[in-house]
Symmetry: C2
Subunit: 208 residues, 2 copies
């Protein structure tokens, strides 16, 4: 991938991947840009343009090879490589994440969960529970790719600073705050509060 | 609000609201576009342009009235009005949502949670637990504004259809699928799987 892919195309890549994976699972060997576009609420020409970015060239009246294209996108997304993660913050969201079964699909292994009060952390299976004080040493001793931050917003920036100081370069942030950090750090936010506010705003004209 | 606000401005509104709310809580009476822009990683001119959309006009060298602007945006977002919600799907995400303490901030009351197997739903407080078969009757008997969908992706479209048939117009969707529905229905998606994939993709150059 020497060619730079635009942020808008990147944002759509997971949707293409999901769509193609479902088609493969249903035994569909070939698919048209029209079918993909209808499933994803895009135009067929948008789909053809996007897929041409990474060597997906459908044949007129014949379509795309579903499995080839799925594997190509999986490779581009980086999902063929396995990654490790820890969860920092063992509250309700942290514990729900510890049990979230989507990580395996993305080839991610969650190793451990950290909190200042480990006695509150129950119902997490297959991962180890640690006190926050052990975090720096843990990151020194273990190869961890991703830190999942699910602490309160007041603690989130300090937690981000600490994990970055200890070598973390990728953050999945659930705290309702925009974290600040230097170059070379990537972050994705799941901001439930902002999503809810957009829902309320957009529904003003449809709700009584 | 007769004037149409662009989708990009709408997407930033919750960020402005959060920022202004924090400033108010910290007793900051006036704020400059520069301060807001730095907190939100925007340019000051972008902030001034956005805020001018809803009557926020800062005075040169004096800034914006924090509380006035916060209240104005809260009103525009529709957060001054209270809303009710139900959760459909009582798995781990559904149960975590039942305990999510962000709803009160947005003036939303979660009334009930539905699942085909109610015996698995534990640890939800202050809301009632119902079998899925009771859903249509419940929606007839109660004023429900928002349906939160946290079922498996295979069931999500059918659940969306059922709640819409019974009068729901606003959906907060946690199932990893793009739901289809007619006009007059609004939907916000929290797609954890897509967010994770973007994180992995964007971190390809920073991770070993």
């Amino acid at each position: 991938m020497s060619k730079q892919i635009s942020a808008n195309v990147v944002a759509r890549l997971p949707k293409y991947y999901r769509c193609l994976k479902e088609l493969c699972e249903n035994g569909v060997a070939r698919v048209s840009s029209k079918t993909i576009s209808e499933a994803l609420n895009l135009t067929a020409s948008q789909v053809r343009q996007d897929l041409s970015n990474f060597g997906g060239f459908g044949q007129q009246g014949y379509g795309y090879d579903t499995e080839y294209l799925m594997n190509r996108i999986r490779d581009i997304l980086g999902l063929t490589k396995s990654h490790t993660a820890i969860i920092v913050g063992g509250g309700r969201i942290g514990q729900a994440l510890a049990n979230y079964n989507g990580f395996a699909n993305e080839n991610i292994e969650v190793l451990a969960i950290f909190d200042i009060k480990t006695e509150h952390i129950k119902n997490v299976s297959n991962i180890t529970v640690h006190n926050m004080s052990e975090l720096p040493q843990y990151l020194k001793n273990n190869k961890v790719d991703i830190a999942i931050i699910s602490v309160q917003k007041e603690q989130a920036q300090a937690v981000a600073k600490k994990v970055i100081e200890n070598g973390i370069k990728a953050i999945w942030n659930f705290a309702p705050i925009d974290l600040n950090f230097g170059k070379g750090i990537v972050c994705e936010n799941i901001n439930m509060s902002e999503s809810l506010m957009r829902l309320i705003f957009n529904s003003k004209n449809v709700l009584n």
